[in-house]
C-alpha cells in the first residue's frame, strides 16, 4: 500500500516552492518553443507589401533621423572620426534588441490569457520564445550594420579609425546579457501587470525614457563631460554600459573596462533570476486574477 502511494507520476498541489522550475519539462516542450518562434517570424509581416524589409527599414530610418537631429542639429560629437550614422546604427541595433525583448515579454500574461486559461504548458516557454524570435531579428539587423560598416571602412575615408577590437569575441556574451536583462525585466513586469494594470502604460512610455538614459545617441564620455552631476544615472544603467561596450567592440570608440562588463553581466543575471522566481509564482495563480 505504501509502496504504491509513492508510485505517482506527479502531484498537483497548492504548495508553492520559491523556485519550482522543472527543467526536464521545459526541455520536453522544446519543440513548442521552436514552433512559437516560427509562428512569430512567419506571421509578423504577413499581408504587408514590404514584408521582412521592415527589419531593415526601421533601424535605418531611425539612424538617419538621429544623425540629423542629434549630430547635425545638436552637434553631439561621436568621437574618433566615426561617422555619426554608423555610431547611431550601432546604438539603435543593440537597443532595439533589448527593448523588443522587454516590451515583448512584458505582456506575456495579458496577451496569452486565452491560451493560458485553457491548456497547461510551462509558461516560461512564451517569454523565451519572444527572446529567441527577437534574436533572429537582431541577427538580421546586425547584418545591416555589418554592411554599412564594411561600406564606411573600405569604400570611404570617413571611418579611418573604426576598428573592431579583440574583445569582439565577447559579443555573443554581451548579446546574452541583453537578452537576459530584457527577459528578466519583462517577466517581472508581466507578473505585476496581472494585478496592477497601471504598469502597462508605464512600459511603453518608460522604455522610451529609458532609451535616453542608455547612451544610445551620445557617448557616455560626452555626457560625463557636459552634465557630470547626473552622469551616475547613466553609469549605473546596465543598458548604457552594454551599448557602450557594443560600440567599443565594433567601432573602437569609448573604453573597455572589464569591471563594467562584469557589472552588466551580474545585473542581467540577477534580473533574470528574480524575474524567473516572480514569474513562477504568478504562473499558478494568475488565471484567477486576470
Amino acid at each position: 500500500m505504501n509502496k504504491q502511494d509513492t508510485n505517482w507520476l506527479y502531484t498537483i498541489s497548492p504548495k508553492k516552492k520559491l523556485i519550482d522550475l522543472n527543467f526536464k519539462e521545459i526541455w520536453r516542450y522544446r519543440d513548442l518553443l521552436f514552433l512559437f518562434v516560427k509562428r512569430d517570424i512567419i506571421t509578423q509581416y504577413k499581408q504587408t507589401i514590404l514584408g521582412p524589409l521592415w527589419y531593415f527599414i526601421q533601424p535605418l530610418f531611425t539612424s538617419v533621423i538621429f544623425t540629423l537631429i542629434f549630430n547635425n542639429l545638436a552637434a553631439i560629437p561621436t568621437g574618433n572620426g566615426i561617422p555619426s550614422f554608423l555610431f547611431n546604427l550601432a546604438g539603435i541595433t543593440s537597443w532595439n534588441y533589448f527593448s523588443s525583448c522587454l516590451t515583448g515579454t512584458s505582456d506575456t500574461f495579458k496577451a496569452n490569457q486565452g491560451i493560458f486559461g485553457k491548456v497547461y504548458f510551462p509558461r516560461v516557454i512564451t517569454p523565451l520564445s519572444v527572446v529567441f524570435s527577437n534574436l533572429i531579428k537582431f541577427g538580421i539587423q546586425l547584418l545591416v550594420f555589418t554592411f554599412f560598416y564594411i561600406y564606411f571602412v573600405f569604400f570611404t575615408d570617413s571611418a579611418y579609425s573604426a576598428l573592431p577590437q579583440f574583445s569582439l569575441l565577447l559579443l555573443p556574451v554581451l548579446v546574452a546579457f541583453m537578452g537576459l536583462f530584457g527577459l528578466g525585466f519583462g517577466m517581472v513586469i508581466s507578473s505585476m501587470t496581472t494585478k496592477y494594470r497601471d504598469l502597462t502604460f508605464l512600459v511603453s512610455f518608460g522604455v522610451q525614457l529609458l532609451m535616453y538614459a542608455s547612451a544610445v545617441m551620445y557617448p557616455l564620455s560626452y555626457f560625463q563631460e557636459k552634465i557630470p552631476e547626473y552622469s551616475w544615472i547613466i553609469e549605473y544603467n546596465p543598458m548604457a554600459t552594454i551599448i557602450e561596450l557594443f560600440r567599443y567592440m565594433t567601432l573602437g570608440v569609448g573604453d573597455f573596462l572589464f569591471s563594467r562588463f562584469l557589472y552588466a553581466g551580474i545585473v542581467s543575471v540577477v534580473f533574470f533570476l528574480v524575474g524567473l522566481v516572480i514569474f513562477n509564482k504568478t504562473e499558478k495563480s494568475f488565471i484567477d486574477t486576470v
Binding site: T11, K16, R28, D31, L32, L35, K38, Y120, S285, D288
Partner: protein, 430 residues
C-alpha cells in the same frame, strides 16, 4: 482489483475565489496573508467563505468554488462530470489540467494529463492548417516527431485535406473545429480531459467524434474525464459519473444513476419570479435588448388552462425595431417538447413589460421549464435573429384540479410521455 488500477486520485480538493473586482485579493489582504504566513499561522482568509450558490447573496467576499472533492479514477474509465452551471465543473477541470492550482488538497496521477478544454486554442489565423496542426499539437504537449508521424491520419480524420495548406482564417468555423478536434483526438496522454467539445460541428462529425472518443477509452484503454451538458452523450460515453452541486460531489455512481440523480435532485428552477442573470446565459448577451425578468402569473397551471407570463425587457439601443419573444418548453429530462413564437412588437427605450399567454394544450401532469429568447424580425418571414437567450428561466407545474382538493387522485406515469391527448369515445347504441 488493486490500488494499482487507480490512475488518478483527488484528495480534499478545494478552490476559493474572492468575489468582486480583483480576483484573489487586494494589497491589504495580500499583506495580511503574508504576515500570517511569516508567523507560521494559517491563512486567515481560508476560514471565511461559504459554499457557492449564486442565487443567494452571501455575506462573505470569499466563495468556495469547490469544497472537499475526493474521487478516484481507474485506468480505462470514462468519468463524466455533470452539474448545473456554476456547480464547479469547469473549475475542477481547470485544476486537473493544471491551468490553475487548488487552494487546498492535491491530485495525484500515474499518467500524463492532456486537456481539451476548448478546441482551437492557440490556432493562428495567418498560418496554414498544416502549420497549425503542428503548433496546436505542441501546445497540447506532443513533440514535433510525434505529430509528424501522425500528420496524415490527423488531416484525414479532420476531412480538411483540400484546404490544409490554406491559412486557417479562410476556414469556416466548422472546419476549424474539425481540425482542432482531430489534433486532440490523436494525442496520446494516459488521461484526457474533455469539456463540451461535442457541442460544435455537424451531426456527422459529432458522430465521428463520439466514435473516436469511444475508441480512445475502450480500444486503447485510456482514461477520459468528460464534462458536458449533453446528458445523452454522458450516458452514451461514460462508464461512471459524478454529480457536482455547489462545489461538492453529491453523487458518484454509474452513468445512468448519476444522470437520473442530476435530473431529479440538482436542478432547481424557480417557479414564481426570476431575475435573469448571466448564469442563465450560455452566450454573452447583446448590447441591444435583453430579457430582464420573468414572472409566472398563472400560479396554478392547471391541466388544459393557459400559462400566463409577465416578461420585462430592457432595451439599450435598439429602439423602435420589431422583435418577438420566442421560447421552448422542456420537460424535467431536458428534452425540448415544443416551441412558441410571439407576434412581433415594437421596442421602447428602457424597460418594457409584456404579457405573454401560452395555450397549454394537453401537457400532462409533471414539472416543466422554459427557455426564452428575444429576436429581431418576424417568425412568419423566417428572418429571426437572436438578441438574447436565457436557459432554464422559469419552471411550472401542471397538476390536476381535483388532486388539489383531495378528491380523485389523478396519476401520470413518466413513461406515458408529456402529452395527455384527449380521447373521445362514441358508442353506438344498438
Amino acid at each position: 482489483m488493486g490500488n494499482k488500477d487507480i490512475i488518478l486520485k483527488a484528495e480534499n480538493i478545494s478552490k476559493q475565489y474572492r468575489l468582486g473586482l480583483v480576483g484573489t485579493g487586494t494589497i491589504s489582504h495580500d499583506l495580511n496573508r503574508w504576515w500570517s504566513k511569516i508567523r507560521g499561522k494559517e491563512d486567515p482568509y481560508l476560514k471565511v467563505g461559504e459554499s457557492n450558490d449564486r442565487s443567494t447573496k452571501g455575506n462573505s467576499e470569499y466563495v468556495w468554488a469547490l469544497q472537499d472533492i475526493n474521487f478516484e479514477v481507474k485506468r480505462g474509465e470514462v468519468l463524466g462530470i455533470i452539474g448545473k452551471n456554476g456547480a464547479g465543473k469547469s473549475t475542477l477541470l481547470k485544476i486537473l489540467s493544471k491551468v490553475t492550482g487548488p487552494t487546498t488538497g492535491e491530485i495525484k496521477t500515474r499518467g500524463r494529463i492532456a486537456s481539451l478544454l476548448e478546441v482551437g486554442t492557440g490556432f493562428h489565423g495567418e498560418m496554414t492548417g498544416r502549420e497549425n496542426v503542428y503548433l496546436n499539437g505542441a501546445i497540447l504537449g506532443m513533440t514535433k516527431k510525434e505529430i509528424a508521424s501522425k500528420i496524415d491520419e490527423i488531416i484525414e480524420f479532420s476531412g480538411c485535406q483540400r484546404y490544409i495548406d490554406t491559412p486557417v482564417k479562410r476556414y469556416s468555423s466548422g472546419m476549424t473545429v474539425r481540425l482542432a478536434f482531430a489534433v486532440a483526438a490523436f494525442l496520446e496522454p494516459e488521461i484526457l480531459v474533455i469539456d463540451e467539445v461535442l457541442a460544435v460541428g455537424d451531426a456527422e462529425f459529432q458522430k465521428k467524434a463520439i466514435g473516436k472518443m469511444q475508441d480512445i477509452s475502450r480500444g486503447e484503454g485510456r482514461t477520459v474525464l468528460f464534462v458536458s451538458h449533453n446528458m445523452a452523450a454522458v450516458k452514451n460515453l461514460c462508464t461512471r459519473a459524478i454529480v457536482l452541486q455547489q462545489g461538492r460531489i453529491v453523487f458518484d455512481g454509474g452513468q445512468n444513476e448519476s444522470v437520473d440523480y442530476y435530473f431529479s435532485n440538482t436542478r432547481e428552477i424557480n417557479k414564481n419570479y426570476v431575475l435573469l442573470n448571466d448564469a442563465h446565459r450560455r452566450k454573452s448577451r447583446s448590447k441591444e435588448s435583453i430579457l430582464k425578468s420573468v414572472k409566472l402569473i398563472s400560479k396554478e397551471s392547471l391541466l388544459n388552462k393557459v400559462i400566463e407570463l409577465e416578461i420585462v425587457l430592457k432595451t439599450i439601443n435598439f429602439v423602435n425595431n420589431m422583435v418577438c419573444v420566442t421560447g421552448t418548453i422542456c420537460n424535467s429530462k431536458e428534452e425540448i417538447l415544443g416551441s412558441f413564437f410571439s407576434d412581433s412588437f415594437r421596442l421602447h427605450k428602457g424597460e418594457m413589460k409584456i404579457n405573454l399567454t401560452i395555450l397549454n394544450s394537453n401537457l400532462a401532469l409533471g414539472e416543466y421549464y422554459m427557455n426564452f429568447s428575444i429576436s429581431k424580425g418576424r417568425f412568419r418571414e423566417n428572418n429571426l435573429e437572436m438578441l438574447d437567450n436565457v436557459y432554464e428561466a422559469i419552471g411550472f407545474d401542471v397538476f390536476n384540479e381535483i388532486n388539489l382538493e383531495g378528491g380523485n387522485t389523478y396519476k401520470w406515469d413518466n413513461s406515458w410521455g408529456n402529452f395527455h391527448f384527449k380521447s373521445i369515445i362514441k358508442q353506438e347504441n344498438n
